[in-house]
Amino acid sequence: MDFSYSDEQFMMYDSVLGLMRQEAGPSACRKTYRHGSAVARQLAGKLADQGVLGGGASEAHGGSGLSLLDYALLFEAAGQTLLPFPLVESFVVTTILQAFGEKEQQERWLSAIVSGETIPTIAWGDDSGRFGTGGVQAVRARGRTRLFGRRKFVPFAEISGLVLTPVYSTELNGVFLTLLDPHRAGVEIEPLHSLDGSYPLASLILNGCTVEEGELVWQGGNLWERALALAQVALAQEALGVAEEVFRNTVEYVKVREQFGGPVGRFQAVKHVAAEDYLLLESTRVANRYAAWLVSEGSPEGPLYAKMAKAYASDMARRVTGDAIQLHGGIGFTWDSDVHLYFKRAWRLAQELGRSTDLREQMARRVVDGQLEEGDGYGYSL
């Protein structure tokens, strides 16, 4: 019974957090608000130098072959430093390529990703604005496969060299995933102004671009479920990082901000909010850790607990970052204060890959509609 990260995992966290504090943080975040994804392009090399883009890639491809559990703390660091880079997408793409890609695909892409040369991303949203596999159709004619349709909510599409996107093929009567270079004929990227200006999102419009054999990674919607579970836990960890960073800053602020003859942190109205937020933070921490472990182990329970972690973390982060504005008073509402950067990121994260209510509804289909199975909740899941 050991429910804690290893010393190695903590050491990697410390060193990556150090790098990210230096290279990212509120200033890089603000730069991205102004200049868009170009900032991420610059960050890629620095992250690669420290091996952060190694993700699930094996050592043969220059990667570290690490699991979601190994990476969990790095996503937390990304949240703490408001990293304006698609680290989650990078990790999911390398992990899936390594596990399911053909040798040729791996050789073609993995080392380019690990070195920071190619930034991968994922076309998360379907045409209904949710996170299913719909929206893009593959049409086969004259020996070529062409794609038509639209996917939404694609992070950093403009600087990305590789987009993972699900495609429906009428011919094959099923869903497969494709890895697509978006800078080719028949692909259009439609950037949109986002509330969280440090994480540009775009729509990907496919007007008949061709895909080659090597670009079809794997058939079947299960792989998309797997990508979602990996990313949901990663986002939950990012949300934890976002919230804990602004929470710590807020706690320090209320210790020094004086009103009515003393620090405002002495008032119960402040203390009790801080105590409740702390409890939510620590609860998120254990929920995420468990979900990361289950998903890394390939447990059939993984997706359920990934949803739970994402929903809980999203609700927590929205509340904690909102409280941070309130506890900062007027200053917290200014553009110059960093608080709003965390607040907006928390809300953007919460809406990605399923609203909390959508995730809980998905969970209910198993827990409420199904039967609690032997072992559920009694400590021997997996």
Partner: protein, 399 residues
């Protein structure tokens, strides 16, 4: 009890509607009509609106005729506010003048001050801003550090104020400044009327988290104002500023429900289009519950408004319980904004463009509502006021 509007009141409502139909451009207020977006445009429209309302005889509806008001009642005021909200009429730029300074002058001002300041205020000829908060005097406003010193027949004012809305448009500022640094902190403060167009006044924009500069900081560096521009006795400014405050906290809610009801309709429309796991959210029990809770709260705000009007008619003043209304609507509006963002789902980060189901107005409500629970007394301060002044609970360790 009878809360039907009289036929005179209904006739007044018709007059307001006719006025709005006449002065607003065709299609104004409908979702497809572009509203002013830039700060510059908004300011220009706001200035125009102040003058237009005045010229058509709708400024200062419940204020005495002798100072340029209309000599009517709060009932006409609520009708006017409702109809403006329903038409999505522009926001004026003299809200603090009309909401705070005017009522203060009517009660505490000299006859000369009323004659001098109220008519141009109502006419939109003189715009006012408010110099209360300072960087280290927010919730604890009485610890303000701006100083005023009498030099001959003029006061010289020095210090920095923040959160002064519309200072860049304003002609005058009503300022709280310390005139006796040796007195206990609530005692040595005086209420001044200070002209903005003079060398000793510097205005700088303060960008808020919405990305707009709604607020400013105002630096007074020996700014001058004549001796007669003190409201109430010297060193009695804290009382002057506060006697009217709970009155104002109550009356600012009148008609406000209509504004939130507009936003609710936009939200409802978004919920009909936005999909969740069970189809459109407007068909999902979880969201239906929250929508109806919100609708109930907006309706109850309307009823609180009727209660306030009834009290004003009977007693012409409000007790400290009016403090609760600012707490009520600001916290409710925050929930409205949050629900709206949840409803937008994956599309929520898109502030503009076709992707946004709501055309951006819900985003503004979402972001702006974060300020509403802070300014004009944080929710925490309002709760203290209710607990201590309404319920009689003992003061805590605030000094």
């Amino acid at each position: 009890m009878d809360i039907r509007f009289s036929s005179e009141h209904e006739a007044f409502r018709e007059r307001v509607r006719a006025f709005l139909g006449e002065v607003l451009t065709e299609g104004w207020g409908t979702p497809t009509h572009p509203l002013p977006r830039s700060a510059q445009e908004q300011a220009e429209v706001g200035m125009w609106w102040e003058r237009t309302v005045y010229e058509h005889g709708f400024a200062g509806l419940s204020w005495p005729r002798e100072y340029g008001g209309q000599g009517l009642t709060w009932v006409e005021q609520v009708i006017f506010s409702e109809e403006c909200a329903r038409a999505n009429a522009p926001a004026g730029v003299n809200g603090l003048g009309k909401g705070l300074l005017g009522p203060t002058l009517l009660v505490e001002g000299t006859e000369a001050q009323k004659k001098r300041f109220i008519p141009p205020l109502l006419a939109g000829e003189e715009i006012w801003c408010q110099g209360y908060s300072e960087r280290n005097a927010g919730s604890d406003l009485a610890s303000l550090n701006t100083r005023a010193v009498l030099e001959g027949d003029e006061w010289a004012i020095t210090g920095q104020k923040i959160w002064t809305s519309n200072a860049h448009l304003a002609d005058w500022c009503f300022v709280l400044a310390r005139t006796d640094p040796t007195a206990p902190k609530h005692r040595g403060i005086t209420f001044f009327l200070v002209p903005m167009h003079q060398p000793g006044v510097k205005v700088e924009p303060l960008v808020q988290l919405t990305g707009e500069a709604h607020f400013n900081s105002v630096t007074f560096d020996g700014a001058r104002t004549p001796r007669e521009n003190v409201v109430g006795p010297v060193n009695d400014g804290w009382r002057v500023a506060n006697t009217i405050l709970s009155f104002e906290r109550g009356t600012t809610i009148i008609g406000r429900h209509a504004h939130y009801l507009r936003e609710f309709e936009t939200l409802l429309n978004a919920a009909r289009q936005s999909l969740g796991e069970n189809g459109p959210l407007a068909r999902d029990s979880h969201y239906r519950q929250r929508l109806m809770q919100l609708w109930s709260e907006i309706e109850i705000l309307r009823l609180h408004g009727y209660q306030v009007i009834t009290q004003l008619q009977k007693r012409s003043r409000l007790g400290p319980e009016a403090s609760m209304l600012k707490l009520y609507y600001s916290e409710m509006h925050k929930r409205l904004g949050e629900l709206a963002m949840e409803v937008l789902g994956g599309a929520m980060p898109y502030v503009e463009g076709l992707e946004s189901l709501a055309g951006g107005s819900l985003h503004r409500a979402f972001l702006w509502s974060r300020a509403e629970t802070i300014f004009a007394g944080t929710s925490e301060i309002q709760k203290n006021v209710i607990a201590e002044r309404v319920l009689g609970l003992p003061k805590d360790g605030r000094r």
